[in-house]
């Protein structure tokens, strides 16, 4: 990426959000910003990047939008009105929030849009990724992704999905919806079914968008779950360099801890402490805390497993699910032994989930029940698409044969 493109990507969400507010139309905003990029690509390399690139892009794109609207002699009165606006100051701020990006992310993550469309639209409008980049990251043809984004934008327009930060009782629910979208983007990169590096970029992108949300939502007061999600992503992403070796998954106990990203861990831990001080626990914060216990331990033998189990108990109270119970059982195995953990696992109705079989297989292996372990590993392999994970499972399965 060139310098200009990098600046453009970094400022895209802020600028496009402001243009959407001003012109009341996503397409108008995007086209105007694309026009501004053409000018930036021509001028910036020659004259240097302006001191405030966002302001420059907003001004140039604003003028471009007005030009375009005049030129096209748009019949729709609303557009004509918008075109006559020359005032750059915020229109009427809805509530105390003035960051346009926050309004825009609530629009992009609106529950009336299909989940995959929320993801695509968020990456496009807030992340500034091109349609081609998003298509590439999600391994779908560019035309498919373009249609997805067009459809989502058409629905926003036709149904009048508002460009506004939800208020009152709606806010917590809708914020949770935004966080779900960001976490899905992260997981698409982290738990990707292929090893393509472009998908790892999604982790970086999700972290950048979550930082942006933290900044944009500052006026709403501290949002502990936003901090919790950011911490969770950082603590997971910090371990990414150690997660795969020679194409084989390396599980947490066997990871080379010196390969972990110390800066991300430090930042993640600071965020977890900040969440604890706010004392309004939520699912992302607890998951971040669980990961902080792992990343806090200098080696695998010093992990505080009773702390991990306690946190899983809290998580299960807030969001009871068989998957939480499965993860809790992994910690219980360390604390009370594989026999106790296996009894918990056997009760779970998760037969179609590969991690269920992988966990069960591991517990059986540790109990010396190798025949059953091999079979369970086989079931896990059959349900796993990720190549690195399959390789690891196959290795474990083979070890049960020689044992």
């Amino acid at each position: 990426m060139t310098d200009v493109e990098e600046v453009f990507r970094a400022e895209y969400g802020r600028v496009v959000a402001g243009l959407v507010r001003r012109f009341g139309d996503i397409d108008v905003a995007e086209e105007a910003l694309a026009d501004a990029l053409v000018i930036a690509l021509e001028r910036w390399p020659r004259d240097g990047v302006p001191p405030n690139p966002a302001a420059w892009l907003t001004r140039v794109a604003g003028n471009k939008a007005i030009d375009r609207l005049r030129r096209e002699k748009v019949r729709d009165e609303k557009y004509a009105e918008a075109a006559m606006l020359t005032d750059d100051t915020p229109a009427e701020p809805s509530g105390p929030v003035t960051d346009d990006r926050l309004r825009l992310i609530f629009t992009c993550c609106h529950p009336a849009l299909a989940p995959e469309n929320r993801i695509a639209l968020t990456l496009r409008l807030l992340g500034g990724l091109t349609v081609a980049e998003i298509a590439h990251a999600f391994l779908v043809p560019e035309t498919t992704m373009a249609q997805r984004i067009t459809r989502a934008k058409a629905k926003i327009k036709q149904t009048r999905i508002p460009y506004r930060v939800p208020t009152g009782d709606d806010l917590p629910n809708r914020m949770a919806g935004v966080l779900t979208v960001l976490y899905l983007i992260f997981n698409e990169g982290y738990l990707s079914t292929t090893a393509a590096s472009v998908r790892e970029d999604l982790c970086t992108e999700a972290i950048r968008l979550t930082r942006q949300l933290r900044e944009a939502s500052a006026a709403l007061g501290p949002q502990p779950e936003v901090l919790g999600l950011l911490a969770l992503m950082l603590l997971l992403d910090a371990r990414r360099p150690a997660r795969v070796r020679d194409g084989v998954l390396v599980t947490l106990p066997d990871q080379d801890r010196s390969a972990w990203n110390a800066d991300q861990i430090e930042e993640g831990h600071a965020l977890v402490r900040q969440c604890l001080a706010l004392n309004r626990p939520g699912p992302y914060q607890i998951q971040a805390a669980i990961n902080a216990v792992h990343t806090d331990a200098p080696d695998v033998s010093s992990v505080d497993w009773s702390q991990v189990v306690t946190l899983y108990d809290q998580l299960a109270t807030l969001t009871p699910s068989p998957i939480v119970a499965l993860n809790r059982a992994v910690a219980v195995a360390e604390l009370d032994g594989p026999q106790v953990a296996l009894a918990i696992v056997e009760d779970l109705d998760l037969g179609s989930y590969h991690a269920f079989h992988a966990t069960r297989a591991d517990l059986l292996r540790r109990l010396g029940r190798f025949d059953e372990a091999r079979e369970a590993y086989g079931q896990a392999i059959a349900l796993t698409e990720n190549e690195a994970e399959r390789a690891w499972l196959a290795g474990r399965q083979a070890s049960c044969l020689t044992a």
Binding site: A112, I161, P162, R164, P166
Partner: protein
């Protein structure tokens, strides 16, 4: 102001036939109360409840002479039980009304905007 159609989706699980009379009356009262709230808020355009799906007749007037057949136009288990047409500033407001209407009539409600060109 934009208009939205709130369609009541009946899916055959309602069992109105076997429902105690008091329960039916309670639902009717809740629906009336909801409609009154819509009127008081100045959002009312039109509304109506429909007779059961068995009461429908399909007319096809595309040919020389109209063809009339008994029954609904689709084999779907779900059918339109009634509707409200409301005016609302945006989708969030329409969804909020739909949530209340859904609670009142004990059924799912589909929210769909009117095409502004014809509205």
């Amino acid at each position: 102001m934009p208009m939205y159609m709130l369609s009541v989706v009946q899916d055959g699980t309602e069992a109105f036939d076997t429902m105690p009379k008091e329960e039916l009356q309670r639902i009717g009262a809740d629906v009336d109360a909801f409609s009154d709230t819509v009127r008081e808020a100045g959002k009312w355009v039109f509304a109506g409840g429909l007779e059961p799906i068995e009461a429908s007749t399909v007319v096809d007037g595309r040919g020389e002479s109209p063809v009339i057949t008994d029954g609904p136009f689709s084999e779907s288990k779900e059918y339109l039980g009634g509707f409200w047409i409301i005016s609302a500033a945006d989708l969030d407001e329409a969804l909020d009304w739909a949530a209340r209407g859904s609670k009142a009539c004990r059924a799912r409600v589909e929210v769909r905007p009117f095409d502004e060109a014809t509205g």
